[in-house]
Symmetry: C2
Subunit: 292 residues, 2 copies
DNA sequence: GTTCCGCATGAATCGATAG
DNA sequence: ACTATCGATTCATGCGGAA
């Protein structure tokens, strides 16, 4: 099996036109929030946000397969003491475009930005809007089942590396054995609330969302060999995770520094040797240049 | 101090007219959701929901003090595979009425309703929309502080260079004073995500929300002696909690069974004996009939 | 090898000050 | 008057070095 990762440098309003219609299984993205990342992106005024986004969502509607899903990570900012309404207006307008607003998942950010204000508390959640093209779409619920019990909710569901290491390290002290017991025990379907910490550590890349976020939705809405698209690639979290999970992916990024950074990391074409047929294909020369 | 609990039987569209303007400090309510509880309000169709609610929110705007808050517990239901949009439309329309949409809190229901569907998971959260009349409103943040994490123990022993720099930027005496505040502090401010289980006890009343929900907002937005209003009283959770917390309250309920049930439980006027003056007042005969 | 501990930092927001 | 910049506020997390 061959896994491709195609990344493009440019404005997704243009670059999306290259992507064929009905070709993508999952769009997972986190667009720049209104006026939020001014330094890196232009900074879209809250009043202009919907107007700016609609041509993009129209393209996304075109490239998504009828069975596909579009997961939009977004949160309205506070303007003049009030929450802006551009996200709601966007949902209403996207429905007019033909999108179905199927569900709203909540990302509960366990470590939210600190601060104190007279009229509000720290903002500790973001929206994960789930749009589809049709009522029948692919959803592989069994792939994201979680062990039952509070312990599992706080631990296994979160995909932080530290937790994984800690759990592995406990093997031998009797604790690791418990994990295997848990895994064999009853598993339950998750809910529409995801508990994940943001990544704010000393890595050289600063991702807008933790890897666990795209990972969960890639598991849920795609299978191996499917195609994932992130039109606002940023540091490439979606594509890196997709590649690791043997999904083809497309990434578009307007900032060349980010683009170059991702290009360094990504293997454009990887072959997974599963059966003889695949092995045979590997010997043939590959002409495809995925990264440009 | 005297604590009153006034409950009314009737449609809040009418009964609210009795409540004086600018007299309520907090409105906390959970209206019947669209097409849910059909018997009660005849079942409001999702398409008619906004139209039905706006006259009520207009009354609520009238009776709320300029420093008061309106907390609306609501969630859109699924209609034909899609989330309805009436909550969003309602927010947009209420803003036109003059409401400020200050914040959206999330109630994370730790034990959500069971079930399995092909296109979604269990719904485990509800909205708590916070509306105000003005940008300056009463908020007693200290009353809802929560225990701090282990963070404090390690952090405060030795101050990091970054923390020193951050604090040095503040000119003058701020530094030492600020640290001493932290040293004595064992609690932190909460976030805008509330983790509460639904109450599924065997009482004959089935409350829409647990007592912890109104309790948190009553603590946050009112002080003793203030007035709390619930125009969709139901089983009276808001009023019972308010009474226990020494807040006056008003409840309106259209279903007589609910009304009678709450009437049984509630003490219309309770006197809290705090100082001699109050004691003296107690001896005087009371004429007020609060429940009618 | 584990565990412990120090430390930087993050899609934040408000109010005051400056242009 | 209205907008842009800046300082102040504050907490959970994971990495890396130390014990």
């Amino acid at each position: 099996m061959e896994v491709r990762t195609d990344i493009y440098l440019g404005d997704c309003r243009e670059e999306l036109k290259i992507v064929p219609m009905d070709s993508v299984d999952l769009i997972f993205t986190s667009p720049p929030y209104a006026d939020q990342r001014k330094k890196t992106y232009g900074g879209i005024h809250p009043d202009k946000y919907v107007e700016w986004f609609l041509p993009i969502s129209e393209q996304l509607l075109r490239v998504l397969k009828p069975t596909g899903s579009f997961v939009l990570n977004i949160k309205e900012r506070v303007v003049n003491g009030e929450r802006s309404t551009y996200v709601m207006e966007l949902i209403l307008e996207m429905k007019k475009q033909g999108w179905l607003w199927t569900e709203e998942y909540i990302w509960h950010k366990k470590n939210s930005y600190p601060g104190k204000w007279p009229n509000r508390f720290r903002d500790s959640w973001e929206r994960l809007l789930h749009f589809t093209k049709s009522k029948k779409f692919n959803m592989y619920q069994d792939k994201v089942m979680v062990p039952m019990g509070d312990w599992a909710k706080t631990r296994l569901k979160n995909l932080s590396e530290t937790d994984k290491k800690r759990d592995e390290s406990k093997v031998g002290s009797g604790f690791g054995k418990n994990i295997s017991n848990w895994m064999n025990r009853e598993v339950a379907y998750p809910t529409n609330v995801l508990h994940l910490a943001t990544e704010c550590n000393n890595k050289n890349h600063s991702a807008a969302f933790p890897e666990g976020l795209p990972e969960w939705f890639i598991k849920l809405f795609t299978k191996e060999g499917d195609t994932v698209l992130d039109p606002f690639m940023g540091s490439g979290t979606t594509n890196i995770v997709a590649n690791r999970m043997k999904r083809n992916s497309i990434g578009i990024e307007i900032v060349s520094e980010y683009y170059e950074m991702v290009k360094e990391v990504i293997q454009p074409v990887e072959l997974y040797l599963i059966d003889p047929k695949e092995k045979y294909e590997k010997t043939k020369p590959k002409r495809r240049i995925s990264i440009r």
